[in-house]
Symmetry: C3
Subunit: 266 residues, 3 copies
């Protein structure tokens, strides 16, 4: 994948300002909104059954995040997801806490069966759980996964017919054929609530402008990782890191992404 490709995708986000509809958790929802804006896109949150399909039809991408799921919210995700599918809009699914409780794992399976998901993006424990390999999730934290991350993502992507991304110190992305390893990032990202959710929002923005969702996901995660690296240089702790990450994201330009991305393809 050429660096020209990923910087050009970022340029398209900034130009098109895609509207990214979120149905997400109430813990990190504000961070998702602000990160979407900092990336150059426009966020909207809506989940009432009266309007959720209409909003999904107006939006350029849909991000589903089950961080604080409820039965009603899952119904809203299905309504919005079907509308997004009907309109050909990409749907990004963040399976927060899959593997921790039955309700979360079963909900993700249900969403994957009912909807055409463009990108499934979770941590190692969540992706490992869905891949059916040895994996452990405690609350919403990954405890670990057994096996090679690249192979797990590739096999799951092939089975599901979508892009699969596993976040971690090195992010892994696969579409069932190609595998990319993104080495950008900073340890403080693991010490702030919601960096995974924020990365999914950025992925939603990029998926809206990408014909090739594998490239879009790789570009989004590299960009978010670079913002983290820049923030990490000056942060005095997790909370100053968080606002510096957002400021860095807003200040990054397509040529920065081309220059600073550290992506290995396998």
């Amino acid at each position: 994948m050429e660096t020209k490709t990923i910087s050009s995708l970022f340029g398209r986000v900034r130009l098109a300002r895609p509207l990214v509809h979120h149905i997400t958790n109430f813990v990190t929802v504000n961070d998702c909104a602000n990160v979407t804006l900092c990336a150059g896109a426009s966020p909207v949150m809506a989940e009432a059954p009266e309007e959720v399909a209409e909003m999904a039809g107006m939006a350029d991408a849909l991000v589903l995040n089950i961080g604080t799921l409820s039965a009603d919210q899952v119904e809203a995700m299905l309504l919005a997801g079907r509308a997004a599918n009907d309109f050909g809009r990409p749907v990004v699914l963040d399976p927060v806490g899959a593997g921790a409780t039955r309700f979360r794992t079963e909900t993700v399976v249900r969403l994957l069966e009912a909807l055409e998901i463009a990108v499934l993006k979770g941590n190692a424990g969540e992706i490992g759980t869905l891949a059916g390999v040895g994996a452990e999730v405690r609350g919403v934290d990954s405890v670990g996964v057994t096996g090679d991350p690249g192979e797990i993502c590739c096999a799951l992507a092939e089975r599901l017919g979508c892009v699969v991304a596993m976040s971690g110190a090195v992010d892994v992305v696969s579409d069932g054929g190609r595998i990319a390893y993104i080495e950008n990032g900073h340890p403080l990202m693991g010490r702030v609530s919601g960096t995974g959710c924020m990365a999914s929002s950025v992925t939603g923005a990029f998926s809206a402008v990408s014909d090739d969702r594998f490239e879009g996901t790789v570009a989004a995660l590299a960009l978010f990782g670079i913002a983290g690296e820049r923030a990490g240089l000056k942060a005095k702790g997790p909370a100053s890191f968080r606002f510096k990450l957002m400021d860095a994201l807003a200040s990054l330009e397509p040529e920065d992404l081309a220059r600073e991305a550290r992506i290995r393809l396998a």
Copy 2:
């Protein structure tokens, strides 16, 4: 309107610390709470049908914001709004996303019919939609409005019998007779999620201490804009702008408002 009037209203907010009851969206609710505190008032959020009228009766003002509305929340808004009306407390309505979906537009119409609204405050697309002029809203963003903002606000204020405020690079406020243009503000306000919601919270605080709601709304928006200007001088991006705006708001004094407000009356 004399600068003495608006600075004196700010002094009253600081002295009386009005309790501002919010029924608002879950995206920017924390910012609304903190901005209310920074302005010098006291926030409370409550929307359970079991308590919402009791809380509204205890509060000095009520702010209704439909940013993530649900059918249950609309019922809570009606219960709280009627209680606030019965006790003679001002109700501020922020019609977030009116014009984007039918549910939002119809809910605002319903609230305007059922309740006595003191101040209706939205962006150009939302106010234009409610005024019935050409207007477009995408998600929760204004795409644009056709016509003169002052005339639109004035005509809508006259028809509804309340104060109407349209936020933008220049904020416009009218009570159907007077029209004020508030030139305070900073471009970064448009790059942070929820600055519109925060401005509505400050408007709620001022409406609690204002006999003349037109003056209260003008004072609130000038104050919020000045806080934005001060924050903009030192911010390194949208996220540092956000906390600096809150710090600036907390540090402003009535005499600062009198000196720095840029208000034109028409």
Copy 3:
């Protein structure tokens, strides 16, 4: 109580990284998550009836906070609380706004009757209301309480058979026998939304590793107060205070807690 004890408890939090399950309000939930991480523990928020007991069983402590309670959420609290009780996990209850509305006061009474609460932690008005002494709460703010805080906490703790903590300029903690006064803290803590909620989250983390919940609560509140003192040295207002408080909390070490804690025992 020896300073060695409280610093050793903090060391245990950092080592064990207890999972702290929250059912809390949607205003300050993000702050609770991030403060839990900064203290060294791991937060999870879950309240769907389908999973709440399973999550509580997996967690090391449960924090219940009624800041924006609903009937459904109260049922979730009962389900989670019973599971936590069955598994011997401590439950911390923050009775936000008890005394302001009947629904809040009655809900707290119901939770105290149905569940074994380890620590009840509120402001003076809330604790005074539950103690049945003269107390006033306006929204979620304490207006005041009649009587001696130490005696009120001690009598209530004895009656309820749990630890009672009353936050304020000086925090008071009692288990019905011992009374501790914690003098750490900073005036800006009262000007940020949710510092009380955050202190309850830290208390949850400490209660998970403390055999003696009185000691755990005292240690948690001293730690949080010290973080506030450090943040207060450099903050330029309430919003920069908030992120500096989190950064300070993350940077504190057990020996700092031992050295800077100002605890008086009565």
